[in-house]
């Protein structure tokens, strides 16, 4: 049976061009018609250290970046030392034969050593040897027997039409690598028939940006923080064309407060950050809850606590999102599993934010936010629902911005609308917006007024629950085991399930929660009724979601598998855990 997927791992020091080489290969893979998935393991350093990216391509939809690669591309000795033992039988290692030495005792049998004078070959085209990566990339493309025209088109994307000579030089460099492979035994006999029908390739963060644009975002304020910064970068270069004001501001306090101001003034407004920045935003996001101001906050998690591992993934900020801000205020927390949901749930978040006039949190993580995946064509025809506006039907006379209603939603007026002037106050207030907090607090009538106003706000949770996506059960009915997971863990969970079903004949399914909050208690309980045994899988130590599940439903997962070493879940580890708990 011929293989149906391939994986290339590119490694080197930061500054060697690992990520650009891998991104080019990901593009080539997607344009070859392969479903593509990347994972970058990098460090908090600009030059030096050890970084690597794995690009997996497959004829069938992928669920992870895979385990061991077919080919490792070593841009330095350390990459050889660290990764040579991982190369699959029948695979190959590409390296600079003049500076990097393999250790045959560590390499699996039938692995081909593709030693090429990468630097020297690059220097035949340009004295500075910058293109040695390109020579190596050409070798990888030749080993996988991919079409070289995708190489040229990928380079055109990078350098554009403005620098055709650089594109041509790099194509020539890639050809040198390809020719070297011919002399060293030709392509690997993988037998992959490439469809050569290009697929869309993007990161989760880019999909968030596209979802925001589709929903009509007009304002993004952000402070740089890995792994959310690429949202700022992408929007800064693309946003203005769509009328989006994109601002890097002094800190995350300003970012959230500006988003609040923009939302109050009537545009669809957002901010994005990681855990540390979100910590700084919590007072201001509560302000939006109290003043009933719509906005979307994207929280791209990385390893904590504190500065933690800035370039590593985790799902450890769920409690932070659930508990952000003093007091109770209505929020929704949406957790996309893949880029398609980064798009659709971000777009949905803008509608929920305006319909319910409250902040909506979209929580993803480094693995999903920064990894490239091929996606189905995104449908930009998303509905845009702006919620209840005062001027639509009401009259300005005696306008009550915070009118107590059954749904908890009150008519909204935007500054500039004649006659509807009101104050949005962070103090507790009456229906008009007038304060209860200073001279009225504690008077019997206003004790009652406060209770009613608080209940009005919190009633919005009912609508948010109704309008947000419910939990889903994926896989076999009557499974022996159910994996309980959320967010980016989805892929590795499904892949592990397919592995144990194929190899062990077990029946396992997966219970997933695109909406974390408000918790869909009834739907979850319905789905949990058929669960025989469960394993909660999430990227943190305490089982933050498992605890929420127990608090909301009384259901305690039988087993817990937490990962908090900075690496994303690998399907084989989940499969091992499944075998362990079921045995």
């Amino acid at each position: 049976m011929s293989k149906r997927d391939l994986a290339l791992r590119v490694g080197g020091a930061a500054g060697d061009g690992v990520s650009s080489t891998a991104e080019s290969f990901a593009k080539i893979s997607a344009r070859s018609g392969l479903h593509t998935w990347t994972y970058s393991s990098y460090q908090s350093v600009i030059r030096g250290g050890h970084v690597w990216t794995q690009v997996r391509g497959g004829l069938d939809p992928l669920l992870s970046h895979g385990d061991d690669p077919d080919v490792v591309l070593c841009l330095n000795q350390q990459t050889m030392d660290v990764h040579q033992a991982d190369v699959l039988e029948g695979g190959a290692i590409i390296y600079d034969v003049d500076s990097v030495k393999p250790d045959p005792t560590k390499i699996r049998k039938n692995v081909r050593l593709i030693g090429i004078s990468l630097r020297k070959k690059a220097q035949t085209l340009s004295p500075n040897a910058l293109m040695r990566n390109t020579v190596a990339l050409g070798a990888a493309v030749a080993l996988f027997a991919m079409d070289f025209r995708h190489v040229e088109s990928a380079f055109k994307d990078i350098w554009g039409d403005k620098k055709p000579e650089i594109v041509q030089q790099n194509v020539a460099a890639a050809r040198l690598g390809g020719d070297a492979v011919k002399d060293l035994g030709g392509p690997l006999p993988l037998g992959l028939a490439y469809p050569n029908q290009a697929k869309y390739l993007m990161t989760g963060n880019e999909a968030v940006c596209l979802g925001a644009l589709a929903a009509g975002v007009k304002f993004l304020a952000q402070y740089p923080m890995t792994p959310a910064s690429s949202i700022l970068h992408w929007m800064a270069s693309h946003g203005p064309k769509y009328g989006v004001v994109v601002k890097q501001v002094e800190d995350e306090l300003a970012a959230m407060n500006m988003a609040v101001g923009a939302g109050f003034a009537g545009v669809r407004s957002m901010t994005a950050t990681s855990g540390g920045g979100f910590c700084l935003m919590v007072e201001a996001i509560g302000q939006a809850g109290m003043t009933e101001t719509p906005l979307v906050a994207v929280l791209v998690q990385r390893s904590g606590p504190s500065t933690g591992l800035p370039t590593k993934t985790e799902q450890g900020d769920l409690n932070l999102a659930l508990g952000a801000g003093q007091g109770d205020w209505p929020r929704a927390i949406l957790a996309p599993r893949h880029p398609e949901e980064c798009f659709s749930l971000t777009a949905k978040a803008f509608n929920l934010a305006e319909i319910y006039q409250t902040p909506i949190i979209v929580i993803s993580d480094l693995y999903l936010g920064e990894g490239y995946r091929t996606v189905d064509k995104l449908d930009f025809n998303v509905p845009i629902v702006r919620g209840m506006m005062a001027a639509d039907g009401g009259t300005a006379k005696d306008f009550k911005r915070y009118e107590i209603t059954e749904s908890g939603v009150s008519p909204r007026a935007l500054p500039g609308t004649k006659g509807y002037q009101f104050i949005g106050a962070t103090d507790e207030h009456m229906e008009s917006g007038e304060l209860i907090s200073d001279v009225l607090a504690g008077l019997p009538e206003f004790v009652e007024e406060r209770r009613k106003m608080h209940e009005k706000r919190m009633r919005k949770l009912d609508g948010l629950r109704k309008d947000s996506p419910p939990p889903e059960m994926w896989g076999s009915r009557n499974a022996d085991l159910t994996l309980i997971n959320w967010g980016s863990t989805w892929g590795a969970a499904h892949e592990a399930i397919l592995q144990v079903e194929e190899k062990e004949g077990m029946k396992v399914n997966s219970l997933e929660f695109p909406t974390i909050f408000p918790f869909h208690v009834d739907e979850a309980q319905k789905l949990l009724r058929g669960v025989k045994q469960s394993l909660a899988v999430e990227g943190n130590y305490t089982g933050q979601f498992a605890r929420l599940l127990r608090a909301e439903t009384g259901y305690k997962p039988d087993h817990f598998y937490g990962r908090y070493d900075g690496e994303p879940f690998a399907s084989r580890d989940i499969a091992d855990k499944i075998l362990e708990v079921v045995a």
Binding site: V246, A254, A265, G266, I384
Partner: protein, 294 residues
């Protein structure tokens, strides 16, 4: 011709809850006078404040208002101004709000030169939390939080800070002279760019040092002494007189005005199509946008 707005048009039905004699009454009056003189439409004014006695001010006006959290009025106002640059955005608050907890935002708002008017009621004390030291409290002043030997820090000088940070309209008013203060606020609203009007607004309950009489004995009018507000060096020289150098003479009036500097809104690429709040939502040609991902 449009019917003129009466002065009362700008007043809400809510009566101020400040202590009798509070300097903030004068600032409220000055602000109402300024917007009345300019005949601004109340619904096109957004007054944003933070937290503190003075930050209750928006409630006493009939304009749109946002009563934000402590220290964050400026970034809220900046976001609103970017969303709808046609609004007249005025920020009000106290010295603790703007020069203490919100100081970082203050500097950054000024270096951006937003077309925003910032009116600070500076009483050199924390009033609403019942009398602790503020960033502008005089050195040596005994307060609830500095009861033994008084404040040992140097006070912040908002005027010098504003000049150094890029504000293009920098003035100081005094609640003992509402007429001049109203002129300064009016000038700030008319000015295209960031206007700071630092208002010496005595706290009659918790600050027994910097009283109306303390200021009356010391203040003088910059204009009367021939100060040229287009001269930044001269502005710095005047700014540093008090509290940095001495406490006998306190300059009031317009320190500095730069009419040439473009505003943030002038330079922001995404505002060239018009106010974002009125732009169509969504993406007209997704194919074009998606092409780069294929």
């Amino acid at each position: 011709m449009k019917a003129a707005f009466e002065m009362d048009t700008y007043k809400s039905e809510i009566k101020p809850t400040w202590c009798p004699g509070c300097g903030d009454f004068a600032v409220l009056r000055a602000l109402q006078t300024a917007v009345h003189t300019l005949q601004l439409e109340p619904w096109n004014i957004l007054v944003v404040s933070g937290i503190g006695c003075s930050s209750n001010l928006p409630h006493f006006l009939s304009t749109y208002g946002f009563h934000a959290i402590h220290g964050r009025a400026l970034p809220v106002a900046e976001g609103a101004k970017l969303a709808n640059p046609e609004l007249n955005v005025i920020v009000t608050g106290g010295d603790g709000d703007g020069y203490g907890i919100g100081l970082g935002h203050f500097i950054h708002a000024m270096r951006r030169n937003f077309d925003i008017t910032y009116v600070v009621m500076n009483n050199q004390i924390y009033g609403l939390t019942t009398g602790q030291a503020s960033p502008t409290s005089e050195k040596g002043m005994k307060t609830k939080s500095t009861p033994i030997e008084g404040v040992i820090e140097n006070p912040i000088d908002p005027i010098s800070l504003a000049l150094a940070s890029g504000a293009t309209y920098v003035a100081r008013g005094f609640s003992g002279d509402v007429k001049t203060m109203a002129e300064l606020v009016k000038g700030g609203i008319e000015h295209k760019g960031f206007a700071l009007i630092d208002c010496l607004s005595p706290c009659v309950t918790y600050n027994k040092v910097n009283t109306y009489d303390f200021f009356r004995e010391r203040v003088y009018d910059l204009a009367k002494e021939g100060h040229d507000p287009s001269d930044m060096k001269a502005a710095f020289a005047k700014a540093t007189e008090w509290p940095m150098v001495q406490r006998d003479r306190i300059p009031l009036g317009l320190f500095y005005r730069n009419k040439e500097m473009p505003t943030y809104e002038d330079l922001e690429i995404s505002l060239r199509k018009g106010p974002p709040v009125r732009q169509p939502l969504g993406v007209e040609d997704p194919e074009e946008l998606l092409a780069e991902f294929l």
